[in-house]
Symmetry: C2
DNA sequence: CCGGCCTGTCGAAGCGCTTCGACGGAGTAT
DNA sequence: ATACTCCGTCGAAGCGCTTCGACAGGCCGG
């Protein structure tokens, strides 16, 4: 294992000079710098992470807390994680992967041990136990998701309320009057995960404004659960012609069941999904959808953190505007004459 | 930030004593130990990770290299990552998340800087550039996946060859004689990712032994690509009655197209998938499938690594035996009289 | 009763790096 | 020429921990 001292000796300078070449914190003459860089290359030197962390009390590591469960939004999680990792690397940081399993203790451990300089917290619940800890530490953090009280916190999320509104608007503009919402599994609502409730608020609010009827049904993923949910929806509102789906695992079962019941998409019923692009484009019908901008969320979170670590940046809530892409699953309501 | 020295002072002992209480590397009297532990608790002490790494030259971190692309096996990757993270924590390790983006340099950086004590490498290609580096370092590593030459390496993977054989056997036992294989995207084969080729070998080998006809077609995910692939398959082999699918993104499009063409599953055609349980059970038809044991692979990889770090364990290739679960997508071939 | 041997504790020497103050020498202003 | 500044470099002091050797005291067997 090559050390700074060896590089210094090889280049014929002192250790501190090598350190300053590496950090750029003091000016070094071009000739010296080049000689040092040459030595670094020929010796294949890599600074020891532990020593660096100890001396500078900065680890150049960002902790990423991902949810333990894999019952929802798996591709989104993955995409965020990858975006976080690549963006972090571009800024010279590595990423430590923590699962929600440890709960609040993970926050204590990371801040207490100086393992990471900053944290990104995913899957935030409305009154998450980790929030007081995050507020009480001087280590920067960014939440992906929105808790009930965002004071003193930095958050990034899709504007799910606007997303809900957008879906309703789109269906309304096509003449649909009776809309059913296939939501996440009941557990998601019981846990008070913010995004599901905010989407619902957006949906309900705009439906009310536009005078549409809206029926919301949580739904476990899978074919059987979907079958039950769907039959109940049509029992209650036979005239339903528009669907909003916010549950990846329900998308295909819904399409399959509609097809099986002889309801053509988009001729008889329209479907709008809130899901990652990949799901929307690879479904058996190409879905009109609002994409969850996973990559952008991950990237943004890291950039916020880097700014904070650099003394810039501030606490604020960033809600990314939703974008609806029209594909093959939505069309005019049956018998609609147009606007 | 509380330090060892402060704990020592609070407990009225020397710093080394506290260290030995923490590590258990020397015997400490019960009274002293309890006093120290009490101090640790009341002060909320967490050992500084950097200092610990520097002094002991062990970081208690395991690096996990995940593929950058998200074009295949996303839920599997995620499941493995989570299993790795939780298992590692159970053994006192944290997990550093690296993407394939850096390529071989990531290996150099991690080993050179002492950032991690060991590595888990996913998405291994047959002649992966990282392999020589892994062989040449004294840091333990485990591959998830199987390269062409496994000498000097430790690998964990599903036995994809046996998986292929198992799928063919199942279809053969139901009287199917003409089998089509919907594979991963062509790129996956061009990249020479091992698992796809090994599955194919298993399929072909057993088909030959059992006298079945087998047609293999790579396929991009999505509806349109699948439609093209499927029509070509039926053009070439109109009697095809059994499908093996190894491509998550092709599963639903395949089912949708078969349905649309009036071919009932499993009455007219049978489908066997190689995919995660979740995909199999949440598809629009509950799929007979061989599960990719993602969790077990992740867990096993970590345990191998921990054993190696403890001086136990050795280089070996572990191929997990496949298990086929019969669900609703496979049944007797049309017109088959039984065995 | 003494030498040898555990057991439990301590002191001190680093681990490899960052960073602060110091300093020689060149350049600039007086 | 003097006084001053600025630039480039160096030496040394830690950062908080682990770990090695030392040592005091209690126990044993001879």
């Amino acid at each position: 294992m090559v050390t700074l001292a060896e590089v210094a000796q090889h280049a014929g300078v002192s250790a501190s000079t090598v350190s300053y070449v590496l950090s750029g914190k003091r000016s070094i003459s071009t000739t010296t710098r080049q000689r040092v860089e040459e030595s670094i290359r020929t010796l294949g030197y890599h600074p020891n992470a532990g020593a660096r962390a100890l001396a500078s009390s900065r680890s150049n590591i960002i902790a990423l807390m991902i949810p333990l469960r894999t019952d929802m939004y798996v591709p989104v999680m993955m995409e965020i994680a990858i975006a976080v990792a690549t963006t972090a690397r571009a800024h010279g940081y590595d990423v430590l992967l923590l699962t929600g399993e440890e709960g609040p203790d993970a926050v204590r451990r990371v801040t207490g041990s100086g393992l990471a300089d900053a944290m990104i917290v995913m899957d935030v619940e409305l009154r998450d136990e980790r929030l007081p800890l995050l507020r009480g530490t001087d280590r920067p953090s960014v939440l992906i998701g929105l808790p009930a009280d965002t004071s003193g916190l930095t958050c990034v999320d899709l504007d799910f309320r606007a997303t809900g509104a957008l879906c309703v608007e789109h269906l309304a503009s096509l003449g649909h009057r009776d809309i059913a919402v296939i939501g996440e599994a009941p557990g998601v609502y019981e846990r008070h995960t913010g995004f599901a409730e905010r989407t619902l608020q957006g949906l309900r609010g705009r439906a009310l404004e536009l005078g549409l009827r809206l029926l919301h049904r949580p739904c476990e993923g899978g074919y059987d659960a979907m079958a039950l949910t769907l039959s109940r929806i049509f029992d209650e509102r036979p005239g339903t012609s528009g669907f909003v789906v916010q549950n990846e695992a329900a998308v295909e079962p819904l399409l399959a069941l509609l097809r099986q019941q002889g309801r053509a998409v988009p001729e008889d019923v329209s479907v709008v999904a809130v899901c990652p692009e990949q799901v929307a484009t690879q479904a058996s019908v190409r879905l009109t959808s609002v994409a969850v901008p996973a990559q952008e969320m991950g990237r943004h979170a890291v950039e916020q953190l880097v700014a904070k670590l650099g003394g810039r940046g501030s606490d604020e809530v960033v809600l990314l505007p939703p974008e609806l892409t029209v594909r093959a699953s939505s069309g005019p309501a049956p018998g609609w004459a147009g606007p």
